[in-house]
Amino acid sequence: MFGFEFLEYGFMRAALVAGGLTAVSGAVLGNFVVAARQAVVSDMLAHVALVGVGVGILWEVSPSLMALLVTLGAAVLLWAVTRRPENAPEAYSMLLLTGGLALALLLAHVNKNNPTSLETYLFGSLLTITPTELVWFAGLNALILLSLAWLWRPFLTLVFDAEYLRTQRRASVYEVLFLLLLGGLVGVGMKVIGGLLLGGLLVIPVLVVRPFARSFRQSVGMSVLVNVLCALGGIIASFYLDVPTGSAIILSLVGCFAVGQGVARVCQLG
């Protein structure tokens, strides 16, 4: 019974490609995000993106595109505000997060007679991805991965030792680029896994492999593997078990985390 019949459906193939690709870039970027202690920032961007969704629904333009634009704007805004050391990033992230969410709720109220619901972007709607969206998402994911590969060393230095990077070159350029990449991923992730769950796709795989990795590269490699397996597994599970996709993906990741911690404890690692 457990064959590959899910592959016969176009929406499933699209979901697997979009989910798999987002899992790859989510895990790679997630390692940088966790090392830089910016997990809260990714959550903030995802919530602010809902404003873009609301505007998109109101103006009848692509909510994903508007979400992407708003996220990129919020990323630059956050960078500009937190350049001053007295402006704590997590506090200003919270300001933008709640402010964005409040605005999104207002827009949802204005849009309440519109058939496109905000909920699609809160929890994701991987199974309703259109072919056009798929092309866009694949392109954006490729762009994120290529940028990370190209800027690997400065980004690695930025997230582990920003002060050192500042002594070497203009760190602000890399700070902005990094936030823009994060904004780009949020733009993709809104539809794939939803604004509320996206943080899990970035952070959990990194936590899963932490006891087993001895280098950043290993951590990236292992977390990509975990993320892709859980994303594909979650999507397939949601097909057979008829459960929400985002929920299945994140719960598989949480399951991996629990197993990983158990194994690490037994083997006395990390």
Binding site: A35, L156, F160, L165, R214, S215, F216
Partner: protein, 264 residues
């Protein structure tokens, strides 16, 4: 190698440095001490080109290349990072070059693949020093590198630095809170509190005894070379440490706020 002349620095309307002048000569091992908020890190950042002087100049000889060594635990510890990756922040050279770098800080090549966060404090600080050396610097700047390192490790690092200076002919600027050690290790000591205080012994400066400790006013403050006085003052050092507990509260006040420049 580096000449700082009448350097003043204001940040956000506050005077951080006022009329600081000194020269770092090739091969020198110079300490920089001062209370919290004295402007030590700002001075270092100005040398590194991260702050633009409000007035005054910083002149570097053409051969000057600064290697910067921060406190080891600046490195984020939440995701694994190997020693190789820490070194690669500074250089793209292959593994055998990295192994040689580790050798100069007395670690062997097997450390390359190890997780930086599982090393001891002293080993981590050695890796951070190796990272600075990777850029082939002529001047090494240490910004309170031994904060939170135990006594034994500190001694080993001091020995390592003295050796590095001899073998590689490096010029070293060493920023520290630990006056006794700096006095013992360095050729001379700059006493900074917004401006350089010259003509006083660093131990007096640290104690906040400023009466015989005039403020350096431009020109080239000649900080008294301390190694001549080192033996004489060794006992003083002990006394000072004992006495510190009594007038700890006075220390900061005594040293700060003695000068009121108007560079802003």
């Amino acid at each position: 190698m580096i000449t700082v002349q009448n350097l003043s620095l204001c940040l956000n309307g506050h005077v951080i440095l006022d009329d600081v002048s000194f020269t770092l000569r090739a091969g020198e091992y110079v300490g920089l001490i001062g209370p919290n908020g004295a402007g030590k890190t700002s001075l270092v950042k100005t040398l590194l080109g991260m702050h633009r002087p409000t007035s005054g100049t910083v002149t570097m000889a053409p051969e000057v290349k600064i290697g910067y060594v921060p406190q080891r635990y600046r490195l984020s510890a939440v995701v694994p990072v190997s020693v190789r990756e820490v070194l690669r922040m500074a250089t793209t050279e292959p593994d055998d070059t990295l192994a040689k770098l580790l050798q100069t800080v007395e670690l062997d090549a097997s450390f390359l693949g190890r997780n930086f966060h599982t090393l001891s404090g002293g080993q981590q600080q050695r890796v951070v020093i190796a990272r600075a050396l990777a850029q082939r610097p002529t001047v090494l700047v240490f910004d309170e590198p031994l904060t939170g390192v135990d006594y034994d490790t500190k001694q080993k690092i001091y020995t390592l630095l003295a050796g590095l200076r001899q073998r590689e002919g490096l010029t070293i600027l060493f920023v520290s809170h630990e006056v006794d050690q700096v006095v013992a290790e360095c050729d001379r000591v700059l006493c900074l509190n917004q401006t350089l205080h010259t003509g006083c012994h660093p131990l007096d400066f640290a104690r906040g005894v400023l009466t015989p400790c005039p403020v350096g006013t431009g020109g080239s403050p000649t900080v008294r070379p301390v190694h001549h006085h080192h033996d004489d003052h060794h006992d003083d050092g002990q006394h000072q440490r004992a006495g510190e507990h009594e007038n700890n509260g006075d220390d900061g006040q005594g040293v700060s706020g003695t000068h009121n420049p108007d560079c802003c």
